[in-house]
Amino acid sequence: MALDVAWALRWVRRTAAVVAEHKTELMELDRQIGDGDHGENMNRGFTAVVAKLDALDEPPAEVGDLLKLVATTLMSTVGGAAGPLYGTAYLRAAKVAGVEALGAADCVAVLEAGLEGIVARGKATTGEKTMVDAWTPAALAAQAAAADGASPEAVLEAAAVAAEAGAVATDPMVATKGRASYLGERSAGHRDPGAASTALILRAAAATAADPSLGSVA
Protein backbone atom coordinates (compact mmCIF):
# COMPACT_ATOMS: atom_id res chain seq x y z
CA MET A 1 0.00 0.00 0.00
CA ALA A 2 1.41 3.39 -1.01
CA LEU A 3 2.16 6.00 1.66
CA ASP A 4 0.32 8.64 -0.33
CA VAL A 5 -1.84 11.60 0.64
CA ALA A 6 -4.72 9.24 1.45
CA TRP A 7 -2.47 7.49 3.96
CA ALA A 8 -1.18 10.80 5.32
CA LEU A 9 -4.76 11.90 5.88
CA ARG A 10 -5.43 8.67 7.81
CA TRP A 11 -2.18 9.15 9.77
CA VAL A 12 -3.20 12.63 10.87
CA ARG A 13 -6.78 11.65 11.73
CA ARG A 14 -5.51 8.60 13.57
CA THR A 15 -3.06 10.81 15.48
CA ALA A 16 -5.92 13.11 16.50
CA ALA A 17 -7.93 10.12 17.73
CA VAL A 18 -5.04 8.67 19.69
CA VAL A 19 -4.10 12.01 21.24
CA ALA A 20 -7.72 12.52 22.34
CA GLU A 21 -7.75 9.00 23.77
CA HIS A 22 -4.53 9.60 25.75
CA LYS A 23 -5.31 13.21 26.67
CA THR A 24 -5.68 12.65 30.42
CA GLU A 25 -2.67 10.33 30.46
CA LEU A 26 -0.53 13.05 28.84
CA MET A 27 -1.91 15.66 31.24
CA GLU A 28 -1.10 13.45 34.21
CA LEU A 29 2.47 12.96 32.97
CA ASP A 30 2.82 16.74 32.56
CA ARG A 31 1.24 17.30 35.98
CA GLN A 32 4.05 15.24 37.52
CA ILE A 33 6.95 17.26 36.11
CA GLY A 34 5.35 20.18 34.27
CA ASP A 35 2.16 22.18 34.39
CA GLY A 36 -0.33 19.52 33.42
CA ASP A 37 -1.49 20.93 30.11
CA HIS A 38 0.31 18.87 27.47
CA GLY A 39 -2.66 16.58 26.80
CA GLU A 40 -4.98 19.56 26.60
CA ASN A 41 -2.61 21.44 24.28
CA MET A 42 -2.08 18.53 21.89
CA ASN A 43 -5.76 17.68 21.83
CA ARG A 44 -6.71 21.30 21.12
CA GLY A 45 -4.21 21.34 18.27
CA PHE A 46 -5.17 18.10 16.57
CA THR A 47 -8.88 18.79 16.99
CA ALA A 48 -8.26 22.00 15.05
CA VAL A 49 -6.30 20.06 12.42
CA VAL A 50 -9.16 17.61 11.90
CA ALA A 51 -11.61 20.52 11.62
CA LYS A 52 -9.43 21.97 8.86
CA LEU A 53 -9.30 18.61 7.08
CA ASP A 54 -13.07 18.26 7.23
CA ALA A 55 -13.35 21.70 5.64
CA LEU A 56 -11.16 20.77 2.64
CA ASP A 57 -13.13 20.36 -0.63
CA GLU A 58 -10.36 18.26 -2.11
CA PRO A 59 -7.33 16.58 -0.53
CA PRO A 60 -3.95 18.25 -1.12
CA ALA A 61 -1.93 16.95 -4.07
CA GLU A 62 1.21 16.02 -2.18
CA VAL A 63 1.96 14.64 1.27
CA GLY A 64 4.02 17.76 1.94
CA ASP A 65 1.02 20.04 1.44
CA LEU A 66 -0.88 18.15 4.11
CA LEU A 67 2.03 18.23 6.56
CA LYS A 68 2.32 21.98 6.02
CA LEU A 69 -1.36 22.41 6.89
CA VAL A 70 -0.78 20.40 10.07
CA ALA A 71 2.28 22.51 10.90
CA THR A 72 0.59 25.91 10.62
CA THR A 73 -2.50 24.70 12.47
CA LEU A 74 -0.49 23.30 15.37
CA MET A 75 1.58 26.49 15.60
CA SER A 76 -1.52 28.63 15.92
CA THR A 77 -3.51 26.43 18.28
CA VAL A 78 -1.29 24.32 20.55
CA GLY A 79 0.65 27.01 22.35
CA GLY A 80 3.11 26.14 25.10
CA ALA A 81 6.44 24.64 24.17
CA ALA A 82 4.96 21.79 22.17
CA GLY A 83 3.19 24.10 19.70
CA PRO A 84 6.21 25.72 18.09
CA LEU A 85 8.25 22.51 18.43
CA TYR A 86 5.80 20.17 16.69
CA GLY A 87 4.83 22.97 14.33
CA THR A 88 8.41 23.35 13.19
CA ALA A 89 8.83 19.58 13.01
CA TYR A 90 5.89 19.19 10.61
CA LEU A 91 7.00 22.25 8.66
CA ARG A 92 10.49 20.87 8.06
CA ALA A 93 9.03 17.44 7.31
CA ALA A 94 6.66 18.98 4.79
CA LYS A 95 9.61 20.49 2.91
CA VAL A 96 11.06 17.02 2.19
CA ALA A 97 7.69 15.40 1.48
CA GLY A 98 6.92 17.11 -1.80
CA VAL A 99 5.94 13.79 -3.33
CA GLU A 100 2.73 11.93 -4.12
CA ALA A 101 3.78 8.98 -2.00
CA LEU A 102 6.61 8.38 0.47
CA GLY A 103 9.18 5.73 -0.30
CA ALA A 104 11.40 4.23 2.41
CA ALA A 105 14.01 6.97 1.89
CA ASP A 106 11.33 9.66 2.08
CA CYS A 107 10.15 8.27 5.41
CA VAL A 108 13.68 8.58 6.78
CA ALA A 109 14.00 12.10 5.36
CA VAL A 110 10.69 13.13 6.93
CA LEU A 111 11.73 11.85 10.35
CA GLU A 112 15.17 13.44 10.13
CA ALA A 113 13.72 16.77 9.00
CA GLY A 114 11.20 16.73 11.84
CA LEU A 115 13.94 16.06 14.37
CA GLU A 116 16.10 18.83 12.91
CA GLY A 117 13.20 21.23 13.23
CA ILE A 118 12.69 20.42 16.90
CA VAL A 119 16.38 20.72 17.67
CA ALA A 120 16.69 23.96 15.70
CA ARG A 121 13.94 25.54 17.79
CA GLY A 122 14.42 23.92 21.17
CA LYS A 123 18.21 23.51 21.22
CA ALA A 124 17.91 20.24 23.09
CA THR A 125 20.08 17.18 22.61
CA THR A 126 19.42 13.60 23.66
CA GLY A 127 19.39 12.89 27.38
CA GLU A 128 17.68 16.16 28.34
CA LYS A 129 14.31 14.43 28.90
CA THR A 130 12.39 15.92 25.99
CA MET A 131 10.63 14.77 22.84
CA VAL A 132 14.08 14.74 21.27
CA ASP A 133 14.69 11.52 23.19
CA ALA A 134 11.87 9.87 21.26
CA TRP A 135 12.53 11.48 17.86
CA THR A 136 16.26 10.71 17.78
CA PRO A 137 16.11 6.92 18.18
CA ALA A 138 13.15 6.91 15.79
CA ALA A 139 15.15 8.65 13.08
CA LEU A 140 18.15 6.42 13.66
CA ALA A 141 16.06 3.24 13.58
CA ALA A 142 14.42 4.40 10.36
CA GLN A 143 17.81 5.00 8.74
CA ALA A 144 19.00 1.52 9.74
CA ALA A 145 15.85 -0.16 8.48
CA ALA A 146 15.97 1.69 5.18
CA ALA A 147 19.64 0.79 4.83
CA ASP A 148 18.62 -2.85 5.19
CA GLY A 149 16.18 -2.33 2.34
CA ALA A 150 13.05 -2.39 4.47
CA SER A 151 9.70 -1.34 3.00
CA PRO A 152 8.29 2.12 3.86
CA GLU A 153 5.82 0.44 6.22
CA ALA A 154 8.65 -1.44 7.92
CA VAL A 155 10.66 1.78 8.21
CA LEU A 156 7.77 3.47 10.01
CA GLU A 157 7.29 0.42 12.23
CA ALA A 158 10.95 0.52 13.22
CA ALA A 159 10.65 4.23 13.98
CA ALA A 160 7.52 3.72 16.11
CA VAL A 161 9.13 0.94 18.15
CA ALA A 162 12.23 3.06 18.71
CA ALA A 163 10.17 6.13 19.67
CA GLU A 164 8.21 4.11 22.21
CA ALA A 165 11.43 2.75 23.68
CA GLY A 166 12.88 6.27 23.66
CA ALA A 167 9.90 7.62 25.60
CA VAL A 168 10.27 4.89 28.22
CA ALA A 169 13.96 5.69 28.43
CA THR A 170 13.19 9.22 29.58
CA ASP A 171 11.82 7.91 32.89
CA PRO A 172 15.12 7.97 34.83
CA MET A 173 16.44 11.11 33.15
CA VAL A 174 16.90 14.42 35.00
CA ALA A 175 15.41 17.15 32.79
CA THR A 176 17.66 20.00 31.71
CA LYS A 177 15.30 21.51 29.13
CA GLY A 178 11.68 22.61 29.30
CA ARG A 179 9.49 23.11 32.34
CA ALA A 180 10.57 19.82 33.93
CA SER A 181 14.09 21.21 34.33
CA TYR A 182 12.80 23.46 37.14
CA LEU A 183 12.38 20.33 39.23
CA GLY A 184 16.04 19.36 38.95
CA GLU A 185 16.59 15.92 40.47
CA ARG A 186 12.89 15.63 41.25
CA SER A 187 12.16 15.27 37.54
CA ALA A 188 13.72 11.77 37.54
CA GLY A 189 11.28 8.88 37.81
CA HIS A 190 8.65 10.35 35.50
CA ARG A 191 8.12 9.95 31.75
CA ASP A 192 8.47 13.04 29.62
CA PRO A 193 5.02 13.96 28.24
CA GLY A 194 6.39 15.28 24.93
CA ALA A 195 8.36 12.09 24.35
CA ALA A 196 5.17 10.16 25.09
CA SER A 197 3.14 12.20 22.57
CA THR A 198 5.89 11.74 19.99
CA ALA A 199 5.63 7.98 20.45
CA LEU A 200 1.86 8.22 19.90
CA ILE A 201 2.32 10.23 16.70
CA LEU A 202 4.90 7.88 15.19
CA ARG A 203 2.98 4.80 16.28
CA ALA A 204 -0.03 6.22 14.47
CA ALA A 205 2.09 6.56 11.33
CA ALA A 206 3.16 2.93 11.42
CA ALA A 207 -0.28 1.63 12.37
CA THR A 208 -2.07 3.46 9.57
CA ALA A 209 0.59 2.28 7.12
CA ALA A 210 0.08 -1.32 8.18
CA ASP A 211 -3.73 -1.23 8.40
CA PRO A 212 -5.64 0.71 5.69
CA SER A 213 -8.84 0.63 7.77
CA LEU A 214 -7.28 2.76 10.53
CA GLY A 215 -7.86 6.50 10.51
CA SER A 216 -10.33 6.58 7.64
CA VAL A 217 -13.30 8.87 8.28
CA ALA A 218 -16.07 6.90 9.98
Partner: protein, 331 residues
Amino acid sequence: MKKLINDPARVTDESVEGFGWAHADLVAVHTDPMFISRAGGAVQGKVGLVSGGGSGHEPLHAGFVGLGMLDAAVPGAMFTSPTPDAIAPATIAANGGAGVLHIVKNYTGDVLNFETAAELADADGIEVRTVVVNDDVAVEDSLYTAGRRGVAGTVCVEKIAGASAERGDDLATVTALAEKVIANVRTMGVALAACTVPHAGVPSFDLTDQEIEIGIGIHGEPGRHRIPMAPADEITAMLTNPVLDDLKLAAGEKVLLFVNGMGGTPLSELYVVYRAARTIVEARGGVVERSLVGNYVTSLEMQGCSVTVLRLDDELTALWDAPVTTAALRW
Protein backbone atom coordinates in the same frame (compact mmCIF):
# COMPACT_ATOMS: atom_id res chain seq x y z
CA MET B 1 -13.09 21.05 42.00
CA LYS B 2 -15.46 23.96 42.66
CA LYS B 3 -14.96 27.09 40.56
CA LEU B 4 -16.99 30.11 39.56
CA ILE B 5 -16.89 29.16 35.89
CA ASN B 6 -19.25 27.85 33.26
CA ASP B 7 -17.24 25.76 30.83
CA PRO B 8 -13.53 25.07 31.45
CA ALA B 9 -12.96 25.53 27.75
CA ARG B 10 -14.49 29.03 27.80
CA VAL B 11 -13.22 30.43 31.10
CA THR B 12 -10.45 32.53 29.54
CA ASP B 13 -12.71 33.97 26.83
CA GLU B 14 -15.49 34.83 29.29
CA SER B 15 -13.09 36.23 31.85
CA VAL B 16 -11.35 38.45 29.32
CA GLU B 17 -14.70 39.59 27.95
CA GLY B 18 -15.81 40.55 31.46
CA PHE B 19 -12.50 42.32 32.00
CA GLY B 20 -13.04 44.32 28.83
CA TRP B 21 -16.55 45.35 29.89
CA ALA B 22 -15.41 46.36 33.37
CA HIS B 23 -12.48 48.44 32.10
CA ALA B 24 -13.72 49.79 28.78
CA ASP B 25 -12.22 53.15 29.76
CA LEU B 26 -8.74 51.57 29.78
CA VAL B 27 -8.66 48.67 27.37
CA ALA B 28 -10.05 47.21 24.15
CA VAL B 29 -10.49 43.45 23.92
CA HIS B 30 -9.93 41.71 20.56
CA THR B 31 -11.19 38.19 19.92
CA ASP B 32 -9.76 35.44 17.76
CA PRO B 33 -7.01 35.92 17.93
CA MET B 34 -7.51 37.18 21.47
CA PHE B 35 -5.48 40.08 22.83
CA ILE B 36 -6.01 43.21 24.92
CA SER B 37 -4.79 46.65 23.84
CA ARG B 38 -5.09 50.18 25.22
CA ALA B 39 -8.50 51.73 24.66
CA GLY B 40 -6.94 54.60 22.75
CA GLY B 41 -4.93 52.32 20.48
CA ALA B 42 -1.21 52.69 19.85
CA VAL B 43 0.39 55.96 20.91
CA GLN B 44 2.10 57.46 17.86
CA GLY B 45 5.84 57.90 18.28
CA LYS B 46 5.91 55.89 21.51
CA VAL B 47 7.67 52.56 21.88
CA GLY B 48 5.03 49.85 22.23
CA LEU B 49 5.19 47.31 25.07
CA VAL B 50 3.69 43.86 24.59
CA SER B 51 3.65 41.04 27.09
CA GLY B 52 1.68 37.86 27.44
CA GLY B 53 1.69 34.32 28.65
CA GLY B 54 -0.62 31.63 29.88
CA SER B 55 -3.79 32.72 31.65
CA GLY B 56 -4.34 32.06 35.35
CA HIS B 57 -1.89 34.71 36.56
CA GLU B 58 -4.38 37.57 36.69
CA PRO B 59 -4.06 40.54 36.98
CA LEU B 60 -0.88 39.80 34.97
CA HIS B 61 -0.79 40.78 32.07
CA ALA B 62 -4.08 42.36 30.99
CA GLY B 63 -4.38 44.20 34.31
CA PHE B 64 -1.22 46.12 33.42
CA VAL B 65 -2.37 47.47 30.07
CA GLY B 66 -2.74 51.23 30.17
CA LEU B 67 -0.93 54.52 30.51
CA GLY B 68 2.57 54.10 31.90
CA MET B 69 2.72 50.35 31.46
CA LEU B 70 1.78 47.91 28.65
CA ASP B 71 0.25 48.71 25.26
CA ALA B 72 -0.99 45.18 24.68
CA ALA B 73 -1.28 41.84 26.49
CA VAL B 74 -1.78 38.41 24.99
CA PRO B 75 -3.40 35.78 27.21
CA GLY B 76 -2.96 32.13 26.28
CA ALA B 77 -5.02 29.23 27.52
CA MET B 78 -4.69 28.49 31.25
CA PHE B 79 -0.96 28.21 32.03
CA THR B 80 -0.24 27.79 28.31
CA SER B 81 1.69 30.42 26.41
CA PRO B 82 -0.20 32.16 23.60
CA THR B 83 0.45 31.41 19.94
CA PRO B 84 2.30 33.58 17.38
CA ASP B 85 -0.90 34.28 15.45
CA ALA B 86 -2.19 36.19 18.51
CA ILE B 87 1.10 37.78 19.57
CA ALA B 88 1.81 39.16 16.09
CA PRO B 89 -1.40 41.21 15.72
CA ALA B 90 -1.00 42.43 19.31
CA THR B 91 2.47 43.61 18.34
CA ILE B 92 1.08 45.41 15.30
CA ALA B 93 -1.66 47.01 17.45
CA ALA B 94 0.96 48.21 19.94
CA ASN B 95 3.23 49.70 17.31
CA GLY B 96 3.24 53.49 17.30
CA GLY B 97 6.03 53.65 14.76
CA ALA B 98 8.87 53.60 17.30
CA GLY B 99 9.19 49.83 17.52
CA VAL B 100 7.86 47.29 20.01
CA LEU B 101 9.40 45.61 23.05
CA HIS B 102 8.32 42.07 23.85
CA ILE B 103 8.51 41.36 27.59
CA VAL B 104 8.67 37.57 27.85
CA LYS B 105 8.75 35.42 30.96
CA ASN B 106 11.40 32.76 30.61
CA TYR B 107 9.50 29.60 29.73
CA THR B 108 10.40 27.56 26.66
CA GLY B 109 6.86 27.90 25.37
CA ASP B 110 6.66 31.66 25.83
CA VAL B 111 10.11 32.21 24.39
CA LEU B 112 9.45 30.09 21.30
CA ASN B 113 6.02 31.54 20.56
CA PHE B 114 7.15 35.16 21.01
CA GLU B 115 10.21 34.37 18.86
CA THR B 116 8.02 33.27 15.97
CA ALA B 117 5.68 36.22 16.48
CA ALA B 118 8.62 38.61 16.40
CA GLU B 119 9.65 37.13 13.05
CA LEU B 120 6.12 37.67 11.71
CA ALA B 121 5.97 41.26 12.97
CA ASP B 122 9.43 41.89 11.59
CA ALA B 123 8.16 40.69 8.22
CA ASP B 124 5.58 43.48 8.54
CA GLY B 125 8.41 45.95 8.98
CA ILE B 126 8.00 46.42 12.74
CA GLU B 127 11.22 46.56 14.74
CA VAL B 128 10.83 44.19 17.67
CA ARG B 129 13.20 43.80 20.61
CA THR B 130 12.74 41.10 23.23
CA VAL B 131 13.68 40.92 26.89
CA VAL B 132 13.34 37.68 28.83
CA VAL B 133 12.49 37.95 32.52
CA ASN B 134 14.14 35.27 34.68
CA ASP B 135 13.96 36.42 38.31
CA ASP B 136 13.19 33.11 40.03
CA VAL B 137 16.20 32.17 42.17
CA ALA B 138 14.60 28.85 43.10
CA VAL B 139 15.79 27.52 39.76
CA GLU B 140 19.47 26.91 39.27
CA ASP B 141 20.67 28.84 36.28
CA SER B 142 23.03 27.37 33.72
CA LEU B 143 23.88 27.63 30.06
CA TYR B 144 22.74 24.06 29.60
CA THR B 145 19.25 24.36 31.07
CA ALA B 146 16.07 26.24 30.27
CA GLY B 147 17.32 28.75 32.84
CA ARG B 148 15.38 30.57 35.51
CA ARG B 149 11.67 31.21 35.28
CA GLY B 150 10.14 34.64 34.99
CA VAL B 151 7.78 35.25 37.92
CA ALA B 152 6.64 38.22 40.03
CA GLY B 153 9.61 40.40 39.01
CA THR B 154 7.82 40.78 35.67
CA VAL B 155 5.63 43.47 37.25
CA CYS B 156 8.72 45.57 37.98
CA VAL B 157 9.97 45.16 34.41
CA GLU B 158 6.61 46.11 32.89
CA LYS B 159 6.15 49.11 35.21
CA ILE B 160 9.60 50.59 34.74
CA ALA B 161 9.95 49.86 31.02
CA GLY B 162 6.42 51.23 30.63
CA ALA B 163 7.35 54.48 32.35
CA SER B 164 10.44 54.74 30.17
CA ALA B 165 8.41 54.30 26.98
CA GLU B 166 5.76 56.71 28.23
CA ARG B 167 8.29 59.50 28.74
CA GLY B 168 9.42 59.07 25.15
CA ASP B 169 12.58 56.98 25.38
CA ASP B 170 13.56 55.18 22.18
CA LEU B 171 13.46 51.39 21.74
CA ALA B 172 17.12 50.92 22.64
CA THR B 173 16.73 52.90 25.86
CA VAL B 174 13.49 51.18 26.89
CA THR B 175 15.09 47.81 26.21
CA ALA B 176 18.20 48.75 28.18
CA LEU B 177 16.10 49.83 31.17
CA ALA B 178 14.10 46.60 31.04
CA GLU B 179 17.38 44.68 31.01
CA LYS B 180 18.60 46.76 33.94
CA VAL B 181 15.53 45.79 35.97
CA ILE B 182 15.95 42.13 35.00
CA ALA B 183 19.58 42.28 36.14
CA ASN B 184 18.55 43.68 39.52
CA VAL B 185 15.36 41.81 40.46
CA ARG B 186 15.09 38.41 42.16
CA THR B 187 12.16 36.38 43.49
CA MET B 188 11.42 33.19 45.38
CA GLY B 189 8.04 31.67 46.19
CA VAL B 190 6.27 29.16 48.43
CA ALA B 191 3.01 27.24 48.14
CA LEU B 192 0.88 26.09 51.06
CA ALA B 193 -1.68 24.53 48.74
CA ALA B 194 -1.67 23.87 45.01
CA CYS B 195 -4.13 25.28 42.49
CA THR B 196 -6.47 23.40 40.20
CA VAL B 197 -6.44 24.15 36.47
CA PRO B 198 -10.09 24.10 35.28
CA HIS B 199 -9.54 21.68 32.40
CA ALA B 200 -7.43 19.39 34.59
CA GLY B 201 -9.87 19.23 37.48
CA VAL B 202 -7.25 18.00 39.95
CA PRO B 203 -4.72 20.02 41.99
CA SER B 204 -1.47 20.64 40.11
CA PHE B 205 0.35 18.81 42.88
CA ASP B 206 -0.54 17.14 46.15
CA LEU B 207 0.50 18.49 49.54
CA THR B 208 -0.48 17.09 52.90
CA ASP B 209 -1.74 19.40 55.61
CA GLN B 210 1.72 19.38 57.23
CA GLU B 211 3.79 20.11 54.11
CA ILE B 212 4.65 23.18 52.08
CA GLU B 213 6.43 23.46 48.77
CA ILE B 214 9.42 25.84 48.60
CA GLY B 215 10.59 27.31 45.32
CA ILE B 216 7.37 26.96 43.31
CA GLY B 217 6.74 28.64 40.01
CA ILE B 218 3.50 30.28 38.91
CA HIS B 219 2.12 27.42 36.83
CA GLY B 220 1.40 25.05 39.65
CA GLU B 221 4.63 23.25 38.97
CA PRO B 222 5.94 21.56 42.10
CA GLY B 223 8.83 23.41 43.74
CA ARG B 224 12.43 22.55 44.42
CA HIS B 225 11.80 20.85 47.74
CA ARG B 226 9.07 20.01 50.20
CA ILE B 227 9.39 20.83 53.89
CA PRO B 228 7.18 20.60 56.98
CA MET B 229 4.86 23.53 57.64
CA ALA B 230 6.64 26.33 59.57
CA PRO B 231 5.87 29.75 61.07
CA ALA B 232 5.59 32.69 58.65
CA ASP B 233 8.85 34.26 59.86
CA GLU B 234 10.81 31.08 59.11
CA ILE B 235 9.19 30.57 55.73
CA THR B 236 9.84 34.20 54.83
CA ALA B 237 13.50 33.78 55.75
CA MET B 238 13.72 30.77 53.41
CA LEU B 239 12.47 32.99 50.59
CA THR B 240 14.16 36.29 51.38
CA ASN B 241 17.71 35.15 52.16
CA PRO B 242 18.27 33.30 48.85
CA VAL B 243 16.91 36.36 47.04
CA LEU B 244 19.26 38.74 48.87
CA ASP B 245 22.21 36.35 48.48
CA ASP B 246 21.66 36.03 44.76
CA LEU B 247 21.32 39.81 44.43
CA LYS B 248 24.53 40.20 46.46
CA LEU B 249 22.78 43.08 48.19
CA ALA B 250 25.27 45.30 49.97
CA ALA B 251 24.54 47.25 53.15
CA GLY B 252 23.13 50.67 52.39
CA GLU B 253 21.66 49.70 49.02
CA LYS B 254 18.10 50.81 48.31
CA VAL B 255 15.44 48.31 47.30
CA LEU B 256 11.83 47.82 46.34
CA LEU B 257 10.32 45.05 48.50
CA PHE B 258 7.44 43.25 46.83
CA VAL B 259 5.40 40.54 48.58
CA ASN B 260 3.18 38.90 45.99
CA GLY B 261 0.22 36.68 46.80
CA MET B 262 -0.38 33.55 44.72
CA GLY B 263 -4.14 34.17 44.67
CA GLY B 264 -5.63 32.22 47.58
CA THR B 265 -3.83 33.75 50.54
CA PRO B 266 -5.49 36.52 52.60
CA LEU B 267 -3.99 40.00 52.37
CA SER B 268 -3.53 39.97 56.16
CA GLU B 269 -1.06 37.09 55.80
CA LEU B 270 0.82 38.85 53.00
CA TYR B 271 1.43 41.75 55.39
CA VAL B 272 2.69 39.34 58.04
CA VAL B 273 5.19 38.07 55.44
CA TYR B 274 6.05 41.64 54.38
CA ARG B 275 6.82 42.48 58.02
CA ALA B 276 9.13 39.47 58.30
CA ALA B 277 10.82 40.10 54.94
CA ARG B 278 11.40 43.76 55.69
CA THR B 279 12.94 42.87 59.04
CA ILE B 280 15.40 40.56 57.25
CA VAL B 281 16.24 43.06 54.50
CA GLU B 282 16.92 45.77 57.07
CA ALA B 283 18.90 43.43 59.31
CA ARG B 284 21.17 42.90 56.31
CA GLY B 285 21.56 46.62 55.80
CA GLY B 286 19.13 47.04 52.92
CA VAL B 287 17.05 50.22 52.76
CA VAL B 288 13.44 49.63 51.75
CA GLU B 289 12.58 52.63 49.60
CA ARG B 290 9.42 51.33 47.95
CA SER B 291 6.95 48.54 48.73
CA LEU B 292 4.27 46.56 46.97
CA VAL B 293 2.02 44.02 48.72
CA GLY B 294 -0.82 42.17 47.05
CA ASN B 295 -1.93 39.64 44.44
CA TYR B 296 -0.27 40.72 41.19
CA VAL B 297 1.24 37.58 39.64
CA THR B 298 -0.99 34.75 40.74
CA SER B 299 -1.42 31.07 40.13
CA LEU B 300 -5.20 30.78 40.17
CA GLU B 301 -6.29 30.07 43.78
CA MET B 302 -2.92 28.73 44.90
CA GLN B 303 -2.19 29.50 48.56
CA GLY B 304 1.24 30.97 49.11
CA CYS B 305 3.32 33.94 48.17
CA SER B 306 6.61 35.10 46.74
CA VAL B 307 9.14 37.65 47.93
CA THR B 308 10.70 39.91 45.30
CA VAL B 309 13.54 42.36 45.83
CA LEU B 310 14.52 44.93 43.19
CA ARG B 311 17.73 46.89 43.68
CA LEU B 312 16.89 50.55 43.10
CA ASP B 313 18.81 53.58 41.97
CA ASP B 314 17.39 57.07 41.53
CA GLU B 315 16.47 56.43 37.90
CA LEU B 316 14.59 53.21 38.61
CA THR B 317 12.85 54.77 41.62
CA ALA B 318 11.70 57.72 39.52
CA LEU B 319 10.35 55.41 36.81
CA TRP B 320 8.61 53.26 39.45
CA ASP B 321 6.99 56.40 40.87
CA ALA B 322 5.91 57.66 37.44
CA PRO B 323 2.13 57.77 36.89
CA VAL B 324 0.42 54.53 35.92
CA THR B 325 -3.24 53.98 35.04
CA THR B 326 -4.13 50.34 34.61
CA ALA B 327 -6.82 48.06 36.02
CA ALA B 328 -4.45 46.55 38.58
CA LEU B 329 -1.89 49.26 39.26
CA ARG B 330 -2.56 52.99 39.40
CA TRP B 331 -0.98 56.04 40.95
